[in-house]
Symmetry: C2
Subunit: 596 residues, 2 copies
């Protein structure tokens, strides 16, 4: 069975040495009292919970899966899941970054994000229960009425209740404008909602006494398409005005999906049969309201694959040090043993270092981005807020798509390190691969993310936000331009920066002639920009590591070696991506539909 050690040292490096988050957070009125010790202590305690309570349930949760009782419509989660959730609630973990006005601890999102990385490493399927709940909390916090907030937020904050997001229907996922679930206004101001939802994560389970569903549906007078969708709160049990639980509402789990992975999470078909709900936000503006939740969820999905990459890496390293097989081509490395540990074989190292670099790169990108989320949410400076919002919007699709694609590659490499044993369930590696696969799909497929990045976030404002981010990179390059030791990092960084500028302009020009050129280039483009961000952060990390080299602390030697590996072996992927992006639309459209 896999094990998990929270990577606290690297987290501290990213938080305190690379991004100096305490100083940044202290500028925000809500966080003026934050300090490094608090952050470190929370992560250390959180790490214990993840490695000791949640991680041991991952493999068994995958084997057991969830069971639906078709008579009661209740779902039984795998053994130990419910008890672990009780510990989670008792530990106050759901409240970590919630609003103190509703009982939260008010810690920065940055801290919560790092805690979630560990939860995801330990058990992605389990973590989706509180994870979805947190998304529902954020959506209601942003768009609910005072009454709705008072009724629901305290229970979501303590974790006594959990939440879901009910979007997808059998005929529409990406294209929510086509959804058919109906909401009929009632005399008392409530709505009766009827329809069929699928793929509802944590839609029904046995953790809590009530589940707060956020449901997208269409009012009778709704315009067609995505501008006619409204958002409703539909609790499993109706909630009385005093907050007590009322009668069962007509929203039921009517089936569980049989999935490739995340078996421990209940992915539900939900049937609404005149279920009573209340409107959240304005009529027909439900999709915008839901996007608060979706954007947070997209960061969360990237974080899931970061977690999986880290835990897969850790276990593959252990195996590679332990497993004896063949001699190194350059001669025995462990002459006292019948064969060399496979970590001495160059390609095994390449697979391990790929996973390591993807994890460390993702951790830096996540931290940088979620710090913008803290600024966007908490800053009292309008300019800073706007800048942070724009950068957050730019980086969110990159986090979702780049990190999850990398996670798929990395977990598969880590499986491969195990040889045939990697294919066997008991070793746990194949589960990481299966779990990682969903992250490329849900909360907007990675193709949708790439269209969001290139079409909306870059081309729609003539690349202004990207240029702003690029300016930070240019300043760093300028600063380090005379530092000889940094040339190996700064030169390729400058090169990829120039190439991104040129590629962006080229696609922008082509898109004038045919907007489908955006669709043809977007996926490659997103990965190129993803590499630009990784190259930037690895160069910054290398600068610190070089400065600390004399300390003799092996952490910095490892950081330098990982950065060098990244520049030598991973960044060159951009050579292909730029070529295929430039090859454009024609090779994709030449074949008639009928000839496929």
């Amino acid at each position: 069975m896999p094990t998990y050690n929270p990577p606290l040292r690297d987290m501290q490096f990213v938080l305190h040495e690379l991004f100096n988050v305490v100083d940044e957070l202290k500028m925000l009125p809500a966080h003026q009292d934050i300090d490094a010790d608090t952050i470190n202590a929370v992560l250390e305690e959180g790490g214990k919970f993840c490695s000791q309570v949640i991680a041991p349930l991952n493999l068994s949760g995958d084997s057991e899966g969830c069971q639906l009782n078709r008579d009661t419509h209740e779902v039984q989660t795998p053994k130990g899941f419910k008890e672990a959730y009780q510990q989670y609630v008792e530990g106050g973990w759901p409240a970590l970054s919630c609003d103190p006005a509703y009982g939260g601890q008010g810690l920065p999102f940055t801290v919560n994000q790092f805690f979630y990385e560990m939860l995801n490493s330990a058990n992605q399927a389990w973590t989706m229960y509180p994870g979805l709940s947190h998304g529902a909390y954020e959506c209601l916090h942003a768009h609910g009425t005072d009454d709705q907030k008072k009724l629901y937020l305290p229970k979501l904050t303590t974790g006594e209740w959990t939440g879901t997001m009910c979007l997808t229907e059998p005929h529409c996922g990406t294209d929510l404008g086509m959804l058919r679930t109906k909401a009929e206004p009632q005399a008392d101001g409530s709505y009766k909602i009827t329809g069929q939802k699928i793929f509802i994560s944590a839609g029904e389970h046995d953790f809590v006494e009530n589940i707060v569903h956020l449901v997208l549906a269409r009012l009778p007078d709704a315009p067609q398409g995505s501008k006619g969708i409204s958002l409703f709160i539909v609790p499993k049990f109706k909630v009385n005005a005093d907050g007590s639980i009322g009668e069962r509402n007509a929203i039921f789990c009517s089936g569980l999906e049989h999935k490739m992975g995340i078996h421990g999470n209940s992915t539900c078909q939900m049937t609404l049969d005149g279920a009573v709900g209340t409107l959240v936000g304005q009529p027909h503006k439900g999709l915008q309201a839901m996007f608060v939740m979706m954007n947070a969820a997209r960061l969360g999905v990237g974080n899931q694959s970061l977690g999986l990459t880290e835990v897969a890496y850790q276990n593959a390293v252990t195996y590679a040090k332990d497993r004896l097989q063949m001699r190194a081509l350059s001669g025995p490395k462990a002459p006292d043993k019948p064969a060399d540990p496979i970590i001495h074989h160059p390609d095994v190292r390449k697979m391990l270092l790929t996973a390591r670099a993807f994890a460390e790169g993702a951790r830096m990108l996540q931290a940088y981005t979620v710090l913008q989320l803290d600024k966007a949410f908490y800053s009292d400076d309008e300019d800073e807020k706007k800048d942070a919002e724009a950068e957050l919007a730019l980086l969110t699709p990159i986090i979702k798509a780049f990190i999850t694609d990398n996670g798929w590659i990395a977990t598969s490499h880590c499986l491969q390190v195990y040889g045939g044993h990697g294919y066997i369930h008991e070793w746990g590696m194949e589960q990481f691969v299966r779990d990682a696969r969903i992250n490329m799909i849900y909360e907007g497929t990675n193709t949708v993310q790439s269209l969001d990045l290139l079409g909306r976030k870059v081309l729609q404002n003539n690349g202004a936000t990207l240029k702003k981010f690029g300016k930070k990179i240019a300043e760093f390059i300028e600063e380090e331009g005379t530092n000889e030791a940094m040339q190996e990092f700064v030169n390729p960084l400058a090169d990829i920066g120039d190439k991104v500028t040129k590629l962006t302009q080229e696609i922008g020009m082509k898109a004038f002639a045919n907007p489908d050129e955006v669709g043809a280039a977007a996926v490659d483009y997103l990965r190129v920009v993803g590499h630009l961000t990784f190259a930037y952060f690895f160069a910054r990390a290398a600068k610190i590591a070089l400065a600390q080299e004399a300390s003799g602390d092996p952490f910095y030697r490892a950081k330098l070696a990982t950065a060098r590996f990244y520049f030598a072996k991973l960044l060159p992927e951009t050579a292909t991506l730029i070529r295929t992006a430039r090859a454009g639309l024609k090779p994709l459209m030449e074949m008639d539909e009928a000839l496929f």
Copy 2:
């Protein structure tokens, strides 16, 4: 549930138009009577069997898996598997390419390979039962004594018995030199064999009355390492001299592996407790004998991923034409429908065309290579035989690694086309991905294949075989050099050819200084050479398609479009691979083992 349509038209193109196999095969004495009609009729009938009998059992076989009765040590296969095998035997399919001297039909390996592509598309897990059996047949045919052949080959030919290969042990797979299973000589010339084997595909099942295990074990006087391994026949039931079944032998299935995929195949732990066996070939030369089987198996594994790529592609196309979601960025393509079929979205096409090009490229490479197998086996011209053997040896690791890595990419893309539905078992796509994953591991991991290619097949003879293959490419380029319409194919082909030459020389030089440089570059190198072969075959296919363009047959338009897609969007992967291969060993070795 997925469906499968045998791609007979493309098979005929590859066989008859591209490689003109009938003329080639007619030169071989054993096949002088072969004709296209026979080949086409066999494939058409075989295709029906695959799509109508085997394919419908794929999804259910995955759900049910195999069950071991721990008291009887018998394994129950999924519902319908056994009956399908009976039909397979009744149809005479096991005998297709077997030696007429033992009851076989004596058809070329080329025909059998195409038939197996269809079996693999239909149901990889089921196909492994007869597939392993065929490997055992070939090994015994090459290395068995006359008595052994008479006793076993007729039953393996009819399919009344099946075979296995028992190599792996818990502590060794790649490094078989470490294996511990012991064989003790008995007074009657037989051996008593004791040990523990794992990962034995089709090791125990309910299809047949007897299973012929080929077991690697160590004699008492065996030298250490891989030069002390001998090969034995160990039947499940002892076989009397007259061919009748005797008493149960002491080889038992002691456990079934829980795997990521190929659930319908029984992957067994086998315990030998003084099981009686007879020696095959010379003492201590078992590994060489087994390599006959392994090389055939490696072609077979490439063929498995070709089959999966084809069937995943077919189903993803159907879904992409049917599923309505969003409008094309360039405006509605199906204005009468609520949204456009997703096949109009450029990135969906890119995913589909990637799978299509990988399937068509693999089919060409497989056909070309297995034709060399026919020549190597059947030619009466010693020079032709040697050339064919060398080319077969060169291309086998490319087929194994390149096609299976591509199959992983392609099946994952096809899953992605389905969005969230791709993650759901009932659609069948996630099974293709899970099944495809093992192909990168078994019969020698893809890293082992790349070391075999670069270290043994290329550098050990100073690239002589590769140069010979390169000469064919150069001749084709020369021929087409003045054909303007072919420039778009021939120029990039010439370019990648030059780059392979240069890269091979560079790595060869570096390997003098440090043999580990081979291990650092091998995986990237294999993919570059794989692309060289695909580029060559797609260019040749394009030449034919261009010549036939005037015919108006849409098949040739599609072939041209696929070739163009390949050159524009897939071949550029070499830009990255060459860079990372050249980056060499240093970035992999900089980190101390302890720092991982």
